[in-house]
Symmetry: C2
Subunit: 256 residues, 2 copies
């Protein structure tokens, strides 16, 4: 009843937000009910879903500090079956504020417990760091989806990320699994892309989704229109990649 | 004597490390003495300069917590005139450790004061966040160089970054300036690139460097060989872009 998936990787710009927004929208298009929580102070997932009016709306910050419940800050979006918990500027200060709170790592987990039954999938878009916002997300999640950009630097941070996942499994959330590893911005014309993809597959084996997301400018254009790519250009290679990923996730639903 | 420049932008993957490494190497090639400080726990600037053995070497973490001086952790690199202060895994925990220290924002500034006279330029590669590691860097710097990827999401975070720069100017470092804004991963075939570049120029005016860095796979390949791009492929568009940027910086040296 309702799977919670954190989309995380402390390396910047690897496609976390693009994956969270477009996978959530693709699953919603297949009539799964989906919630997207934006845990990144940059609030890119908000604009990816057309929610530009961030500063005047309460969001996940107010939930973390106990001023609001998740239900109170949840918004519907232009995509049916897809709801959003927005981020706002106050979230920038949350990392420092959380440090001295009791049970600081489980604030999000406790908040999500009240709503997880309402959704088939809850995705959490994480910021590019391994701080308390990402720790809260990993503690609240059933599994972590790791986007890996097909670039050299993107491979380097993986051991730190896996160390953090292990730390969370041991101390905060023993049931956390790896949902899968997603290769993003893959350009089959470049040796670099091919090499990094090969290395990721030999490192992660069957954990690598068979769906691979190609580099496709439509994925970069869609957020400027406030739309997921399946509403902006459903025939584009980027949209097809995320629809394939969604159907791979749905196929997994049936596995015992 | 000696200019300290932080390379910062909380948006992930915009080319901070690529800029810090390649601009530092290009200035060193013009016989300026340069120091590069890696303030990112991912330690990508280290591998970009061929320093792969990070975990057994003390680095900037030991400096921030007062165990070592900057001079003690400084390494020479394969590029003449270019020295490196490495990052290591311990830096991941530094943000939380710094929170409760006295004068936590000025640790780096005090450390740099002892060595700034030894170098013409000191660059600081920042992590993708506005936390205490970036605050330390902005407090220690004379100026901030802001790489902007030619993508929609990259424009969104600029107001938060400028707010933080203003906060630092008012409370921690009144002489902090904007060194310039650098357009990165520019692809002249894409409308998106052209639009973002136009918007950045209308927002920042003459602060935008005339040198623009094109999207060029050689910039992504060079770090896997542990070399700056001018040592890996000096004729590539990426290398030419950073050499032009270096000469623009050198031209500014002569301005009163
Ligand atoms: N497959 C793709 N093809 C082309 N562009 C892409 C693709 N995936 C993402 N992008 C673009 O690349 C940039 C980085 O992606 P995105 O912002 O989703 O990464 P992120 O990991 O969320 O970044 P951050 O670390 O800042 O949170 C964005 O401008 C996005 O539009
Ligand atoms: N002009 C360019 N052309 C092609 N690839 C580039 C260019 N600049 C950077 N890259 C590649 O894009 C990725 C992101 O760049 P880089 O790691 O320098 O960004 P960053 O801002 O330092 O990221 P982070 O936020 O994680 O610190 C890297 O894999 C890098 O090799
Ligand atoms: Mg993001
Ligand atoms: Mg970097």
């Amino acid at each position: 009843l309702g799977r919670v998936i954190a989309v995380a990787n402390q390396k910047g710009g690897v496609g976390k937000t693009t994956t969270a927004v477009n996978l959530a929208a693709s699953l919603a298009a297949s009539e799964r009910s989906v919630l997207l929580i934006d845990m990144d102070p940059q609030a890119n997932a908000c604009s990816g879903l057309g929610h530009f009016d961030r500063e005047s709306t309460p969001g996940v910050y107010e939930v973390l500090v106990g001023q609001k419940t998740l239900r109170e800050v949840t918004l519907s979006t232009a995509t049916p079956y897809l709801d959003l918990v927005p981020a706002n500027q106050a979230l920038t200060g949350a990392e420092v504020e959380l440090v001295s709170m009791i049970a600081r790592e489980t604030k999000l987990k406790n908040a999500i417990a009240q709503v997880r039954g309402d959704y088939d999938y809850t995705f959490i878009d994480c910021p590019p760091s391994l701080g308390l916002l990402t720790l809260n997300s990993l503690t609240a999640a059933d599994a972590v989806l790791i986007p890996i950009q097909c670039e050299y630097y993107a491979l380097e941070g993986l051991s730190q990320l896996l160390n953090t996942v292990r730390l969370v499994q041991r101390n905060l959330n023993s049931s956390l699994e790896i949902e899968g590893v997603l290769l993003t911005m893959f350009d089959r014309r470049l040796n670099l892309s091919q090499q990094v993809a090969e290395e990721a597959r030999s490192y992660f084996g069957s954990k690598v989704f068979s769906a691979t997301i190609p580099r496709n400018v439509r994925l970069g254009e869609a957020p400027s229109h406030g739309k997921p790519v399946i509403l902006y250009d459903i025939l584009s290679p980027g949209a097809v990649g995320y629809l394939k990923l969604a159907s791979e996730m749905i196929d997994r639903e049936r596995e015992p």
